[in-house]
Amino acid sequence: MSAFAATFRRELSLMWAGGGALTPLGYFFGATLLVPLAMGPERALLAVAGPPLIWIAAALAMLATLERLFQADLEDGSLDQMLLSPAPLEALTLAKGLALWCVVGLPLALAAAPAAIALQAPVELVPAIVASLALGTAAFAGIGLVGAALTAGVRRGGVLIALIVLPFFAPPIIFGAAVAGGEQVGSAMALVAGCALGAAALGPIAAAAALRLQAE
């Protein structure tokens, strides 16, 4: 088994054992529940505001999972071992990001379907919302790797991660919310996919550079 596969497999089982997507999903549904409570149940209003708010809720739910992503590896000494692998740290970081996407990102994208319907989104848009969120959470995971790696040594770094990462969430949020709102769906979807690919390519490189410094 390659180091990439071994890391991916281990992260999947650790994340699963740690509750998997349960907490972020609960967070996501809790946040979307508050939307009609805050805005009132009027259908027309919800149909406009609901889908973008689903994107924001998904972004925040992803964000909440980042704090311990590398901090645990730094604190228990796992990072030292990762640096002795024949696989580059970039690949191991990518494996962790991929596991995060599988365990948290994809379930969030699927959970967006009932949430969108509850928020009165047009039913014909729901597949596009789910697909765009599947890509969007990949972008969030890639960007999140960098934030998590930069703050791995900071105690209670959750708020700091948010401050660092949120401005970089702007592009996927813009394109993703456009898909969810039914505006220029085709090109917006392509642009979300671009964000996801870019984040998946650059995120692990920057995160690995930061982790090497953390191990010093």
């Binding site: 960098v146 930069l150 900071v154 970089f168 702007a170 642009l191 930061a210």
Partner: protein, 240 residues
């Protein structure tokens, strides 16, 4: 010039006279630029006197971006050649850049009130600047959250470079977003629409902002270097 100044002793010698000279240049340019911009330049035929906010707003916007690019360069030097003076430069430039971005946002808001009839409009340029401002805050927060200064410098440098790669993407996405929502687009400054009679004071003010940045940077870097020297002297005294 970078490699010449990379030697801290040479930098201290250089900045000792360069700092005051930059500040003096800024003072002279402000002394010329402010009256020129506020009194002697023509009012806009559409916006009237309020267009004069541009002479603060646009230079602040230019240089907050310019300072970020400078920090990106310094971060790269700091990461690749492990040069501590580059780290200090990036660290000291950040609060100045953040302040310029803040000035740009506030002046944009003040400009918006009479022209758009609202204190804030989600205009593409203002929105990009708001994102830049938050990136600055994140950079400063990361730096102050990490105790070990050398590690803080390297990690902040990575963040700065990630931001540098991201800024064009953010800019593109916000532009795309603003055409989607078709807001009241007002800022045409910087384009070909600007009248030559406004260009003189605008460039003068831009020069003044630049020298203000350069002067503040020199003083702030000197302070940081002195502080580090005092700390290591104390440490040596405690070990002896």
């Amino acid at each position: 010039m970078f490699s010449y100044l990379a030697n801290p002793a040479r930098f201290m010698a250089f900045s000792a006279w360069a700092g005051p000279i930059f500040m003096a240049a800024a003072a002279v340019l402000f002394a010329v630029g402010i009256p020129w911009a506020l009194i002697y330049s023509p009012a806009d035929y559409q916006q009237g006197e309020t267009v004069r906010i541009m002479y603060v707003h646009v230079p602040a916007a230019w240089w907050s971006l310019g300072i970020y690019a400078f920090m990106g360069g310094a971060s790269l030097v700091g990461l690749v050649w492990r040069h501590s003076l580059a780290d200090v430069a990036a660290r000291c430039a950040a609060p100045i850049g953040a302040t310029f971005a803040g000035v740009c946002l506030i002046s944009g808001s003040l400009w918006g009130a009479p022209t758009w009839g609202t204190w804030w409009e989600w205009d593409g340029r203002l929105t990009s600047m708001l994102v830049l401002f938050i990136i600055y805050l994140g950079y400063l927060a990361l730096w102050s959250a990490i105790e070990d200064e050398e590690r803080a410098a390297r990690l902040a440098a990575i963040l700065c470079l990630v931001g540098l790669i991201n800024l064009p993407i953010v800019k593109f996405s916000v532009d795309w977003w603003s055409t989607l929502h078709q807001p009241a687009s007002l800022f045409r400054a910087g384009g070909s629409a600007i009248d030559p009679s406004m260009l003189g004071p605008l460039l003068t003010m831009a020069g003044a902002f630049f020298f203000l940045f350069a002067g503040l940077l020199m003083f702030s870097m000197r302070t940081a270097i002195f502080r580090r020297r005092v700390e290591s002297a104390r440490l040596r005294a405690s070990q002896a």
